[in-house]
């Protein structure tokens, strides 16, 4: 039996423990500090042990504050506004605190160490939970923003992608199923979606990517390659001016410029009320009637500058 190593081990452990305990007592005790809290309901004060985090002090005193990660600094929910005594903001909090919030002294309660008397403001729990639920983003750093103006307000972070409604999801699934047996089915699927919505909405593409097991990057590659697909919403009526050779020779460029003026948008754009989109296409195949435009699938040949306002008027009301 070899006792010496065991003894040595224990010896070292004991020495270290004593050292740390002494250091703790000597160095790190801050004594008791006063924590004053102001929230919508009023003011309260209590004593907290120096050296604890603010969050543990609050929880010990039954103050309602959300802290999903339990004080590890990874959720960003425990925001409070410290008006005095919090010390400097730590890098671990910086990711969750935006510029505006920082100016107002917002901190994460789990990262603030109580070393002296602290005064803070805590938002109403119910309002903040509602704001968090509304934000809907999966970015852990952007859960919610706590800004205090003259009236305390919670500003929800804007949503990035609207989710699909249940009915739309079913339609998507039926389109994907329709072409399930075909090879190279992504093209007809995208074409049907394009017909239905007049463009390819991002949440729909995400659904398609999941259902067809095709990487979203591949779908975006296809969607941005072909001219018929657009990732931006298009107008109800797409005015396509043919700029094929025959039409070009008969002045298609001037017709296009005149349409730009008439509708107030550039080629490739959509009017604000989403009634018209203007685009240029290469050859519809009605070269005998040059210059030609199509409005959705209706062809209008022998265009003149005079006809342009008439055409716009016909479709404006529809």
């Amino acid at each position: 039996m070899v006792f010496t190593p065991v003894l040595v081990m224990c010896g070292i452990l004991v020495v270290i423990t004593i050292l740390l305990a002494v250091a703790d007592k000597a160095l790190v005790s801050y004594g008791e500090c006063m924590v004053s809290i102001k929230d919508e309901h009023g003011e309260q004060q209590f004593k907290a042990k120096g050296g604890d985090t603010l969050l543990s002090a609050l929880i010990a005193n039954r103050v309602k504050i959300s802290a999903s990660c339990g004080g590890r600094g990874s959720c960003g929910y425990c925001k409070v506004q410290v008006s005095a005594g919090g010390g400097q903001i730590l890098p671990t909090e910086e990711i969750f605190i935006g510029k505006e919030e920082r100016k107002q002294g917002t901190r994460l309660a789990c990262q603030v160490k109580v070393k002296e008397d602290i005064r803070l403001f805590i938002p109403d729990l119910l309002t903040s939970v509602k704001a968090m639920a509304k934000s809907g983003t999966f970015d852990t750093r952007l859960r919610w923003t706590f800004l205090r103006t003259d009236r305390p307000q919670i500003v929800p972070v804007p949503k990035k992608h609207p989710k699909l409604a249940r009915s739309e999801q079913t339609v998507m699934e039926s389109i994907v199923e329709k072409y399930a047996a075909e090879r190279g089915a992504i093209m007809p699927v995208l074409q049907e979606i394009n017909e239905k919505y007049k463009y390819l909405p991002a949440p729909v593409l995400k659904n398609v990517s999941r259902d067809m097991a095709i990487p979203l990057s591949e779908i975006y590659r296809i969607a941005t390659f072909y001219n018929a697909f657009s990732l931006k919403p298009r107008g109800k009526y797409t005015i396509a001016v043919c700029t094929g050779t025959a039409c070009h020779v008969k002045g298609a460029a001037d017709i296009l410029a005149a349409f730009e003026e008439q509708l107030g948008i550039k080629t490739g754009e959509t009017t604000p009320e989403r009634q018209f989109s203007l685009s240029a296409v290469r050859c519809i195949g009605c070269c005998g009637l040059a210059p030609v435009i199509t409005v959705n699938e209706e062809v209008h040949g022998l265009m003149t500058m005079k006809k342009i306002p008439e055409i716009v008027e016909i479709y404006r009301g529809k």
């Binding site: 190279g184 074409q191 050779t245 020779v249 050859c283 195949g285 070269c287 500058m305």
Partner: protein, 623 residues
């Protein structure tokens, strides 16, 4: 509908004999068929409404039993649409509107006299020509691929069968071995009509000999060349000719699945093709056990999505496979490793449309037309600054002069012919001095142009050749898939230089630079789009160098197109003081008082050209 046996073809022919006779004009009698053009162009001019009006008026006069109205595919004479032909007399009416119908019905159908006003007149001075067969535009054509245009209802398969349709297929399936079919196509000398001009027989042969199943037949209906609409018209007028051609090809190479890749910009053609396929399936002409011989073949339609480059064969196959339409290097021929790495035959619509007749009328008949190396006929779309814009079919080897003047009617408004552009963005411009050249694959390539898909764009003296080159390069810059640096960046570089020249800041070094870049792009590009992209630049530099130099040195555009390089000016001596230009100017840039000569204020002038076009006395000069 029942599945057809071969004998049924003859019974349908017998049943429809009378109709065919009426439409061919070989019979006289009470029955009248009004063949109303319903191609995309004429429909846009409301030929649907014309049909409704006709039916209404005929019913009103109690003539609806005698007179039938049939909507046909593109008739070809697009300049004067909407058109209709009344058979059996063969009277040709043009530029009909809905409002004309009551008078028309009253005069022609009730009283029996054709209406003078609607008849075709070559020019205002000459007499009207009543019969379609006498009109030079039609008389000077030789119809093969378009032989059924204007004579059949494309949405009725019996019309096609009545004119001998599917007889070629019957002949092939019952009496010919696949090798014999390929032999016949080889003997006919049929070359691909999509632009490449590759001998179809050789292509089918190498696919038949290749290993791998299944084999595929693809019909390229992605007609992207601006100015070309031959394939659209063939499908809108006579889709069954294409279907029959594809089935014959499938039998020859041993394929059981076919695809038609059609542009998204052709909704009517897509619809008619769908109807035709459906009807063929109903008759058992597509699917399993065709004509009871055990041969199976079916066709599926795939839609494009607006990319010109998908007309290239490897890009087209990529698009069908559900990938991005980028061309790939051709280490293996498509006939050995094509669609999904299986042997594939890819041919153009027009190529397939010729096949049934080669079988029924013989390879020798087909080879008897055309020139030594280019047999048969070709459909051209004659557009631009020409009197009779439209679709024509002529024998290979016909001279350009005959096409433009005898069929096309020459350049309107007495302007001078400057150039003819053939082959779309891959082709080149042929100057007026070379008009007597015969039109065939090799001759056109010799002069620096190419046949392409058959677009023929006529340009008069108001076309600026530098601008034309710039236009085509702009097109290619847009449509380049971006894979090859030479095509993607080379076309941009060419565009920048051409824009410089058209803007007035070109130098003589630019011409050398254009040639150098063009040759580099030609050599270093992967696919046909890139290698033929510089053709417009090179051919215009060859034949119209003086115009480039005038743009660079004198900074003048004599054609009046490059806005920075010309001005409109009223010729004070010939001005008739009518004030028409003043009234029409949208920019208010003309100064005119009554009885005074008009004057253009250059600072306000936007060079829109309206005054130039509206002046009846050609007083406004381009300086």
């Amino acid at each position: 509908m029942n599945r057809l046996r071969i004998e049924d073809l003859d019974s349908i022919i017998g049943r429809e004999k009378a109709t065919v006779a009426v439409r061919d004009g070989t019979t006289a009698g009470d029955t009248i068929h009004v063949m109303l053009c319903a191609g995309t162009a004429c429909i846009s001019q409301k030929s649907n409404k014309i049909k409704e009006a006709l039916l209404r008026e005929l019913a009103a006069h109690g003539l609806d039993k005698k007179v039938s109205v049939i909507m046909t595919g593109c008739n070809g004479f697009c300049a004067v649409g909407p058109v209709m032909t009344v058979m059996p007399d063969g009277i040709f009416y043009h530029s009909i509107t809905e409002a004309d119908i009551p008078l028309l019905v009253q005069e022609h159908f009730v009283k029996g006299t054709p209406v003078e006003n609607f008849l075709y007149r070559p020019s205002a001075q000459e007499k009207a020509i009543a019969k379609m067969a006498d009109i030079p535009f039609f008389a000077n054509q030789t119809l093969v691929a378009l032989k059924n245009k204007g004579l059949v209802d494309p949405e009725r398969i019996d019309d096609y069968i009545a004119r001998g349709g599917y007889k070629g297929l019957a002949q092939v399936l019952t009496g010919m071995k696949p090798e014999r079919v390929i032999q016949k196509i080889k003997e006919s000398g049929l070359r691909g009509r999509g632009g490449g001009g590759f001998p179809a027989g050789r292509k089918w042969d190498s696919c038949a000999k290749a290993h791998g199943t299944p084999k595929y037949i693809i019909c390229n209906a992605d007609e992207g060349d601006p100015g070309a609409y031959m394939d659209r018209s063939i499908i809108e007028a006579d889709p069954h000719s294409v279907i029959e051609g594809m089935i014959i090809a499938a039998y020859a190479v041993g394929s059981d699945t076919g695809y038609v890749y059609i542009r998204t910009e052709y909704p009517l053609a897509r619809h008619r093709l769908g109807v035709a396929i459906h009807q063929a399936r109903d008759y058992g002409l597509l699917g399993a056990d065709i004509f009871g011989t055990g041969f199976r073949f079916d066709i599926f339609v795939k839609q494009g999505a607006g990319a010109f480059v998908c007309g290239e064969s490897s890009a087209l196959r990529a698009s069908i496979e559900g990938r991005v339409g980028e061309p790939s290097a051709k280490y293996d021929h498509a006939t050995e490793k094509g669609l999904w790495q299986k042997p594939t035959v890819l041919n153009n619509v027009e190529t397939f449309a010729n096949v049934p007749q080669i079988i029924t009328r013989g390879a020798a008949w087909f080879a008897g037309m055309g020139t030594e190396k280019s047999k048969g006929t070709k459909v051209f779309s004659l557009v631009g600054n020409i009197e009779n814009t439209g679709l024509i079919e002529v024998q290979m080897g016909t001279s350009l002069r005959r096409i433009i003047y005898d069929i096309g009617g020459g350049v309107p408004m007495g302007k001078k012919l400057k150039a003819v552009q053939t082959g779309g963005p891959s082709g080149g411009c042929i100057p007026e001095s070379m008009l007597d050249m015969p039109v065939d694959f090799d001759e056109l390539t010799k002069v620096g142009s190419m046949m392409g898909s058959g677009g023929m764009i006529v340009m008069d003296e108001n076309a600026c050749m530098v601008n034309v080159a710039k236009y085509f390069i702009e097109f290619c810059t847009d449509e380049s898939c971006g894979k090859c640096t030479s095509c993607r960046d080379g076309s941009e570089a060419l565009l920048v230089i051409l824009e410089r020249i058209c803007g007035g800041s070109g130098t003589m070094e630019d011409l050398g630079l254009l040639e150098e870049i063009s040759h580099a792009v030609k050599e270093a590009s992967l696919c046909g789009l890139g290698t033929s992209l510089p053709n417009p630049v090179l051919s215009t530099l060859t034949y119209f160098r003086k115009e480039y130099e005038r743009h660079i040195v004198d900074k003048k555009c004599d054609a009046g197109v490059c806005k920075a390089l010309f001005q409109y000016q009223v010729n004070a001596d010939t001005c008739k003081k009518c004030g028409v230009c003043f009234k029409n100017c949208p920019a208010g840039a003309i100064q005119w008082e009554k009885k005074e000569v008009a004057r253009i204020i250059q600072e306000k002038c936007t060079k829109c050209g309206i005054c130039y076009k509206t002046c009846k006395f050609n007083t406004i000069d381009i300086i």
